[in-house]
Each structure stands twice: as C-alpha cells, then as structure tokens.
C-alpha cells in the first residue's frame, strides 16, 4: 500500500480544521504524509498524527500558482497512492493544479474514500440529489474532500513528526498575492444565536424576507441565509451560512425554502436541531433535518409566528 499525501490548509496563521479531518481519513487508508506549504513549526507540532511532514518554505499566504507548483514538487518526492485535499477554495485549486501537472485522475466533492486495490471516492453531486461512486484506478490519484466528512479529533494529535524540507520551485510568477480582506463587522453575529431562521431561494423576493424577520423576532432569533440570497444582495454577507460563509451550531436551525446543497449543509449540519420547511418533498435538506414539513413556507411561517405571539 502506498503513502497517502494529505495537503494541509491554513489561513491567517491557523491550520484549518479540515486538515485534521483529512489526516484522520488518511490514517484509515495507509501511511500518512502531510504536505505543509508555507506553514510554521508551530503547525508541524499539531501534525503528530502523521508519520511524516514534507515542508515547503513559501510565503505564508496562499497563492494558487506558487502553492500549486510547490505541491507538484512535494508529490515528486513522496510518490503517493492517493493525495487528499480539502474541498475549499484553496484545496480545490491545488487538487486541480496537481491533476493538470501530473495527469493524475481527480475526484471532487468527495464524502468518503476507500483504497482496497483500486481507489474509490463517493461524492454528492447535482446539489446533493445524486450520490456517485468514482473509480480512480490504482493510483496515484487525487481526491478533494468536502469539509465535515470525517471527525477532526481522529487526526488531531500533538507531536513531532519527522520533517523533510523540499525547495520551492520558481513557478510562472504570474499570480501575485496582494492582501487579505477581512469581513466587515456584522450587525448581528449569527454564530452566537440559540435560534436561527434561515432562508433560501424559496423565499422568492427581497420584500418577503420580512415574514422571516417576524418569525425570528418571535423566537429571539436572527435571520440567516444560503448563498443565493447573499449573491442577490438581499442580506449582507455576515448572514451567510455555508462553505464560503459561516459555520453555525445553534440549538435550533429553521430552514425555510432551502434545498440543502452540500455547500450549505457544510455550514449548518451540526446544529442541535434542524427543522426544514420546503415545498419540494425530495429536497436534500430533509436528509439532514431532524424535523421536516412539506408545505408552502409562507403559510407555515405566518401561522407559526401567530402561534408564538
């Protein structure tokens, strides 16, 4: 069995939780080697669950071009059977870059990986409406894994793994990192609320957000939203739940007209109780919700708000 190369991810000087999830997955598949590009010694000390860390001294800030070239150099020294990256904005760049550089097959949106002879990845595609199993051959190959697909605790261990250093390749030098832009401080912090009333495409129009706000008021809750509502400019970015927004774990998460695309589920599936109201009985949100109701959200919300007053 070959080595499993886990690509560590970090932002703002912190290792991402997903790195530990990947290490936990990798340890179940084979001998785990971690690629740490532009990371610190402090980060190495958190990678005790890996057998080895291959480190590339590079700028601390991610750059799809230079980090991609660095990962190519790490892959040359490790010769892995499987490379695991996160499914994030950074991890996906690296997975695609490596696949293009090495002509290695790639599976994305993976929620599970097995490596018994041939490497197989399970993925949720088409907004979570289809589960696909992909055969990637005997390796080397690359799998980009959706955040939250494995417990992080299994891969989180203090220690001092063996460290090998690889020189950073020059790269093409056509992409230049300028700065990080931090989010504007929010009027409401949706990560601290006990109850969230979350709206999706099903709300239909900006004016109708009012009905969700009334329900939120009755529950001392805040209104959160899925990506389309933010992209439409109906609510500020600080209200976005999901992969590129915030991760929330309220006591109760009420999902109104949210279909439950994997990107959204990544941000809310750990809520203690999820209540979903959707007119589509096949909406994937009902698979993660604890309670569901197939109904017109406006009928339900109006009646519910009245009942609570």
């Amino acid at each position: 069995m070959g080595d499993i190369l886990v690509v560590a991810e970090h932002l703002n000087g912190q290792l991402d939780e997903a790195t530990f999830e990947l290490i936990g997955m990798a340890n179940g598949l084979g001998n785990t080697v971690v690629a740490l590009i532009g990371g610190t010694d402090e980060m190495v000390s958190q990678l005790g669950a890996a057998s080895k860390v291959v480190k590339v001294d590079a700028a601390a800030d991610f750059n799809p071009e230079s980090y991609g070239a660095a990962l190519g150099a790490v892959a040359d020294t490790v010769n892995p059977q499987v490379v695991l990256t996160t499914g994030s904005s950074m991890g996906m760049e690296l997975a695609n870059s490596l696949s293009a550089q090495k002509n290695w097959p790639l599976a994305v949106a993976a929620t599970g990986v097995s490596a018994n002879g041939s490497v197989k990845a399970q993925a949720a595609l088409f907004g979570g409406k289809i589960i696909a199993t992909t055969d990637l051959g005997s390796g080397p190959c690359i799998v980009a894994v959706v955040g939250g697909s494995a417990p992080a605790d299994a891969g989180r261990k203090e220690g001092s793994p063996a460290v090998e250093t690889v020189d950073a390749p020059a790269g093409a030098g056509k992409v230049h990192f300028k700065k990080l832009i931090m989010p504007e401080s929010a009027d409401v912090d949706i990560t601290t609320k006990d109850v969230l009333v979350a709206i999706g495409r099903g709300i239909g129009s900006k004016d109708d957000i009012e009905v969700a706000e009334e329900l939120a008021e009755a529950l001392d809750a805040a209104v959160a939203a899925s990506r389309p509502i933010i992209d439409a400019g109906w609510l500020p970015k600080s209200r976005q739940v999901g992969k590129s927004g915030l991760k929330v774990k309220p006591k109760v998460y009420i999902a109104l007209g949210i279909s439950g695309a994997p990107e959204h589920l990544e941000g809310m599936k750990n809520s203690s109780t999820i209540i979903a109201i959707n007119s589509d009985k096949n909406a994937p949100i009902f698979d993660v919700a604890h309670y569901g109701m197939v109904a017109d959200l406006f009928d339900v919300v109006e009646e519910l708000t009245e009942a609570l007053d």
Partner: protein, 248 residues
C-alpha cells in the same frame, strides 16, 4: 481586449433527475437543461467589463440540445460573437471539456477567459484551472470581484468565513467566477428571437483530444431516504418541538 466565456448546459435541479439504465450516469434524454448559473455570472461579468471599457465578448459552447438558443440568448444579453464546437460530447467531464475548449479557444488569442467556477455535476474538478493549464495561462477561481487594468486583472478570491484575498493576475489568464458584481441580466424572448433572425453562430470542429485523464463514474444513485427528518403535518407540532428544545 478579447474576453472568451465558455457556456455549459446543466440539468435543472428543480426537476427529478432520472438515471440511465446501467446506473452510471444521468439519462439526459428526458432532462430539462438550463445554462449553468455560474456561467451566467461569468457572462454577466464579461459584459460588465465590456461596458466599463472596450472589449469583445465571445460566447463559446459545445454543440448539443438547445445550444443555439443558449448562444443566441448570450448574444441578446450583449456578447459580440457566438461560437459552437461540433463533434464533442457536451456531457463530458471537465478534464475532457477543458481539452475541447482549449483547442478551440487557443486560436482566438483571448486576453481573458471567464468561466463559471463550478457546475452542478462536476465530479472530476473545476473547468477554469484545467483549461488554464492547457492554455498555459495563470488562473484564480472562486472570484467575486474583477477589475481589469491594462494587462492585469485584480481579483477577489473568496475563502471561508467571509474572508477574501486580493490577487493580481498577469493576462492572458483564466478566472473562475463565483458571482458577478450584479445579478445576471435577463434577455427578453422578443430580443432573443430578433437576434436569432439576424445573427449567425460560427462553428468550429473539436480538434484531436489525444489522451484525456478521466476518472470513471462507476455508479450513480439517489440518496437513500428514511434516515432523515421526522415529517410533521401541522404547525402545532413545530411549536411543540420548539417548546421541547426550550426556545419558545
């Protein structure tokens, strides 16, 4: 400046997705297809860039069912030229599609290629970085802000938690668009019909693809139901749940 925007049709996820007989893919025969929503954002961003300065926008698509209508709609929205690539599989994975598009696009010498960052069925990667690799161009994906000045595109790439990074990309380059600066415009049917009468769609043949690295989808299935939500039938039951959890 020349901006190329590849457009792709994807199944409308509002409909039921039927599987083919051997359960290895979708049954496209009965699927309702629509323009990939992220491609719509890429097209919008291209047209906005054109409106802010001087640019030619070329919409490109692989030939398939209803592709002409999609390309005429792009012209009605403000694209200057539409090109259809014949003899390729429009439902191919992104590795294959990247090669088909690279063959067609490299001859156009674009300054900028704007691609929807993802599409609903992506199982083997993102189109933008794979296409960029074949074209020998730099690329950045998950971009929500784009500004072109001379030979440089300044882009905002999204990370998690609302954090973004700013990059300068030396052009020519390929950018994976997450969202345009504004909601993609709508082309009225009358305008699309009018364009259909007057405009033509150029055709180019898909070149030799050589070896394409693919992963094989072995099985597709609908997620298993049953382990999911306890279904409620009236609002009183929701109130009960809220009271039980101590929030109402």
């Amino acid at each position: 400046m020349k901006i190329v925007v590849p457009l792709k049709q994807v199944p409308d996820l509002v409909e039921d997705l039927e599987l083919n007989d051997d359960g290895t893919g979708l049954d496209y025969e009965y699927l309702k297809m629509k323009l990939n929503e992220w491609d719509d954002h890429a097209l919008e961003e291209a047209i906005l860039t054109k409106e802010a300065g001087d640019a030619e926008v070329i919409a490109v698509a692989l030939d398939g069912e209803d592709v002409d209508k999609m390309l005429f709609t792009a012209l009605a929205k403000g694209a200057d030229k539409a090109v259809k690539i014949t003899g390729a599989n429009p439902y191919a994975g992104n590795h294959e599609m990247a090669k088909v598009l690279a063959n067609a696009i490299s001859g156009m010498s674009p300054d900028l290629v704007l691609v929807g960052v993802q599409s609903a069925g992506d199982s083997d990667g993102w189109l933008a970085p794979l296409l960029a690799a074949h074209l020998g161009m730099p690329s950045v994906s998950v971009v929500t802000g784009l500004q072109v000045s001379g030979n440089t595109a300044t882009v905002h790439k999204e990370y998690s938690g609302g954090i973004m990074a700013e990059f300068d990309v030396e052009l020519p380059g390929v950018i994976g668009i997450q969202a345009a600066r504004q909601t993609p415009r709508y082309a009225p049917v009358s305008k699309v019909r009018q364009i259909q009468q007057s405009a033509t769609i150029e055709e180019v043949a898909a070149g030799d693809l050589g070896d394409v690295v693919t992963s094989t989808v072995e099985e597709m299935k609908h997620p298993e139901k049953g382990g999911g939500a306890k279904m409620l039938s009236d609002v009183e039951e929701i109130v009960e749940v809220l009271k039980e959890k101590g929030v109402a």
